[in-house]
Amino acid sequence: MIGSPDVVALTREDENGEANADPLALPDEFSVPLYPHANSNPWAKTSYAKFTKDFILISEFSEQVGPQPLLTIPDDPTVCGTFDLNYFSLRIMSVDYQASFVGHPPGSGYPRLSFVEDSRVVLGDSKEGAFAYVHHLTLYDLEARGFVRPFCMAYVSADERKIMMQFEELSQRFSQASECLKTGNRRAFAKELQRKLQDLEYTRLVLRKEEGLQREAAPPGIYSSQVVEKANELANVEKSIYEHRDLLRQISSYPGRPRRDPQDLLEKYATLDHALRPDGPGAAGRAWGRRASYTPQLIKAKSPKCFDKRLKTLSELSESRFHAATLDLLRGTERLFSGDLCYQYSRRLDRALRRKQQATNFLFEEDPGEDVGGDGVTARPACALSHAGDGPWPPRPPPIVLCPLALELDALRPPGPLDPAAGGGPLRPGRSRPESSPSDRTPETSEDTKCSFSSERSAEGPGRQSTSEGTETTGGEDEAENGGDRTPASPQGAPALQTDLEAALGQMDAACCMAQDAFLYEGSLGDAASDAGLDGPPATVVSQEPQASPALQGAYAVGPPQAEPPAVGLGGGAADDGSDRTVSASAGSDRAGSPPCYGGGVTLRQRKRAGQGALRFVRQYPFALQALWCLLSGRTLVVLGSDEARVRRMVSALALFVPGPGPRGERVQAWLSCTPSLADLHRWKLIGLQRLASPLGSSGLHSLTRYSRYLSVLDADQKTLRCPPYRGTLLANMADHRTSLRRGSTYFLHVQSALGGLASKAFLLAFTHHLHLPVGPGEGPEAVEARRRGFLQEQLGLGPQDGQVLLYLSGLVTQHYLGPPPDAAPPAFSFGYTASLLYKI
């Protein structure tokens, strides 16, 4: 199997891998280190960079002073540390990667503008430990040599692998920023040209008058030297006018030029056009169409010398709104890509995988199409492009002009009398920017369709079918924020997924319908399953494959990284308990009280914080396992206590284990100060209940006792739990109070992994057809039930109580997949005869 010619000489080496002091020994500079990772520490920095974190550097190759750094993002000197920005700018700007002709081409009378494509380079300085993605671009400046000013934007990192692995994403982000800056520059350049033209025409007018006066003053037929000089000056001005008109024509024809960039970025940016409108709320938008007044200046014959003139700054080279938007885009990019590559990559992978398992995501996951989660530190530039810029988000960038600049083309008319109106308002947005088609407008940007989370919810009568299970369609802040997925940067947006899923779910066959009947009789399957154990409701059958939509098939693609939405509206302290959006329900208003906002309504960061609470709970309470089993088997758990903060914290921690908490956490009520009704116990699977010393409070306790057959009560004050005993093994690893896990975020990952495993098993149970359908015509429901029981016990090795968990979860999967029955009967409680026990610390 092994080719013998490859047997190679191996020199004798000692155990430490150091060669002997042999004169023929290989010098280190020609060898490779025996251990490739520095100090064998995988977390050690890959290089010895002098900066503390990644940053963005904008540099220019100045015609006066050479390469120079202009600004860094973030603008914090501590980030760059002792890193020599001047030297690095010199290195990255030392080559003209856009080498292309500018100036007067041979045989051409007028200077030509060259529309060069941006170049992208990844390079590094291994000695300095700095690696960079460098995006080279050229801006136009009337005062500059050849009218061009070379700039570059560089993402500087100590991790070379990070840059190469995310090259396409970096390239896309920087291309957006570059196009934004260049668009603003072209507009500023055109405006400057027009002003210059007005100046020139005014100068020409003045010169003509002066020439006429001098000619009249001189004897007829004799031309004085002053007259000749004036005539030459006039000729120069006229030539200059022609040149500037030509330049203006060239710059206005920019968008029509053939594109060489295969990415055809401009097409993508067309969809960003809606981002800022002239009639928008921003003052900048209103100022868009305003025609600035300009008084022409007389141009002196001699312009200042090259080194006397002051070159424009970057902000002067581009219209201010575009410049600001570019910097915002870059800030977003910096936030998006900074951090550990390992976790960035994992998040993307996790998200891509979750997108492919829509059938079970609702159980324990946030919707991958919406909340991508994260630590909340990184922002989402895509949002900055297309979504509301409130809160911490940067404002929207100006629209990218795709059609020819709507210049005042009367300036291109043949020379005529000075038209004072020619100088004003060269750029009209109404003409310069195409109307965005309805398809360009994403729903989230329309005020009409923008969903917002309502803190009000109408009362539901006790006999009413609970509609909180997956039927709540009201979006929330996260949904609006995360609509960034629908921007071109992330084409696989949530609406498409939602539509596909709806299409998939809409397909049901006869078997499904037959199974649907079960819900009519059994009502809340979860409750029934939890209380009746394996003798609970007949399991429903799903014979329709999930994710039948072909659009979902290719969803497993690690797309560009998605930044996380910020925890908008969440206070730091309130975020700790994860229930900050819940309004405390008073005795008189609890029916109209706000719903809890757990589950999909919270960010991943909050869930990780909840993980800390959950870890504390597991370590502190030996009966945590029982509590978890109650939640996972569908038995309602009431957390009773007098201290609101403590109860809220507990609910927040335990909410991690509530299956299918709902898009806005409808199944969790963090704090309730009145007696829950029977419908409440159906609607909420986890309830924080206030203990009152008043007679009202005692009646509340009384009602809890009355319903004790259906629910479990965790007393936060007494530190007791009353619930049926759990003797299974399935959940043991999630609630081991001797665990060595130290941090809440790690425990959260562990729980996430374990719950994912449960969801997977539930999926298997729900979609294994022979477990739910009779194999032969003579087979009755008992035989099917026995087969299912055998599957749980023998195939999965689960005892009855563990089986209850899977039955409940698979029931939820089925119900979620089939959708709510159209004419479902009111939910009914089921119960078991297993006595509850009181657990104490």
């Binding site: 023929l24 080498a99 390079l123 891509a352 398992q357």
Partner: protein
């Protein structure tokens, strides 16, 4: 490309490489910084395909010179090989350059080995970038020694440039697609034993995951081989799939270092000769799967593999260093043994660690109806599960060791806390974690004398 480039120097030598089919590579160049003349191209390799060459020599020279511009400021450590990557939209090309220092005519010069591709191949090339760079870096190490000795580096570079061209050409036609239809895999069979034996499939997938998703599938029937290749690729990420290759139906490809999964066809004698060096230079240990005789073998775990690989590299470089003449050792065919150490050629061993993760997955996935997307979803759930376990493990170790500042001493607790008591399960999760955090195995299991988690446990118990 526009014309008008300066004509190339008559001194520039050129090698035309005959290739079958489409080669995405336009050219490869070796250039150096001449202290008097500036950047100079020394050699050009260009594929000779059916069509005329896409780039003229002048254009190639212009681009190659470009890669060295700015390197006059280079202040790298001696022996460092820096990588530069250009996407020049204005020229419509991408260039990958490896910059290094080398001795030419007694002077120390900055040199560049570059490959040029059309910009349209950017998406094709990017997943393969790491493979190409890794292989070029090693050949440059050898080339630097050759230059130091005053020998001709071109022959050394040719020994890798030509295979890279072949690799890229083969990937163009036989690369595994990013989206794999489960119907093309073993997992779509009605029953587990339909196309391969139950335990064989379990061992194959388990070992494949234990070796970081790096496997070679050999066999005589190309359909069977490719079915297994696609099956294994189901357990890879999309970008890893793009670094995997199906086998050719009529003749066999050569083994290529760095691919994740590759199908290889046996010859008429029923054998396939593996090049020891190339297998050892793979970034991860490899699983060897023979679909003819249903055997699964695997290389030692990551920490041992890396250690062996590095020792082998050092030995190879030392052997070159000791060569007394250019003809003494051909760079790509080293036949020499040393009294000090003989490499263990039996690098593929039986799969030692059995797991429960893959076992239960295999048992369960066949319960779901085939030809629907049920099994695809179940595969996705399995991948999500093991990826999350890997991330949890990584975070656990990170917490325990304060990001590597302290040694890791709690493997036993980790196994208990994260439900990874079975060695095979731990190997799978560790392998995935290794891909996320390179060097994790060496950090956790220490020097390669600990050959397995079991040994490490024994050690820790004392």
């Amino acid at each position: 490309m526009s014309s008008g480039y300066p004509p190339q120097s008559p001194a520039v030598a050129k090698t035309e490489v005959p290739l079958d089919g489409e080669c995405p590579l336009l050219a490869a160049t070796f250039a150096y910084w001449d202290n008097i003349l500036g950047p100079r191209v020394r050699h050009i390799w260009a594929p000779r395909v059916d069509q005329s060459l896409l780039l003229s020599d002048g254009e190639i020279t212009f681009l190659a010179n470009h890669t060295l511009n700015g390197e006059i400021l280079r202040s790298a450590e001696c022996g460092a090989v820096d990588v530069k990557f250009f996407v020049l939209a204005e020229k419509g090309v991408i260039i990958v350059s490896l910059i290094f220092d080398g001795e030419l005519k007694g002077d120390k010069n900055t040199c560049a080995l570059s490959i040029i591709l059309p910009q349209t191949e950017l998406a094709f090339y990017l997943p393969l970038h790491a493979i190409c760079v890794e292989r070029f870096q090693h050949v440059i190490r050898k080339g630097r020694i050759w230059m130091q000795k005053g020998y001709n580096i071109i022959s050394v570079l040719s020994s890798e440039i030509l295979p890279i061209m072949e690799l890229l050409a083969s990937m163009k036609t036989h690369r595994v697609q990013e989206d794999i239809d489960i119907r093309d895999t073993v997992l779509n069979d009605d029953d587990i034993g339909d196309s391969c034996h139950e335990d064989f499939l379990h061992k194959a997938i388990s070992s494949h995951l234990q070796t970081c998703g790096c496997s070679m599938v050999v066999g005589s029937n190309p359909d069977k081989v490719n079915k297994m290749v696609r099956t294994l690729c189901l357990f890879l990420t999309p970008s890893e799939r793009k670094c995997s290759r199906l086998c050719k139906a009529d003749s066999s490809f050569k083994y290529e270092t760095g691919l994740f999964v590759q199908g290889l066809l046996k010859d008429s004698t029923g054998s396939f000769v593996l090049p020891f060096r190339q297998v050892l230079y793979s970034p991860y240990p490899t699983t060897h799967i023979d679909v003819d005789i249903n055997t699964v073998k695997q290389m030692p775990p990551c920490q041992e593999h890396t250690y062996n690989q590095r020792r082998y590299m050092r030995s190879e470089l030392s052997a070159l260093w000791r060569a007394v003449s250019e003809d003494d050792i051909a760079p790509d065919m080293i036949i020499h043994t040393d009294e000090g150490f003989t490499p263990d050629l039996n690098i593929f061993q039986d799969v030692m660690h059995r797991d429960t993760l893959v076992k239960s997955f295999i048992d369960e996935v066949f319960m779901l109806k085939p030809s629907l997307s049920l099994r695809s979803t179940y595969v996705t759930q399995f991948l999500l599960l093991i990826h999350r376990k890997a991330l949890t493990l990584l975070k656990y170790i990170e917490d325990e060791t304060q990001k590597g500042k302290k040694p890791f001493r709690s493997l036993r607790s980790l196994k208990a806390d994260l439900d990874l008591a079975v060695d095979g399960d731990l190997s799978i999760v560790m392998a995935l974690a290794e891909k996320l955090r390179a060097g994790l195995h060496s950090f956790v299991f220490g020097v390669p004398c600990y050959t397995s988690a079991q040994d490490r446990d024994v050690h820790m118990s004392f």
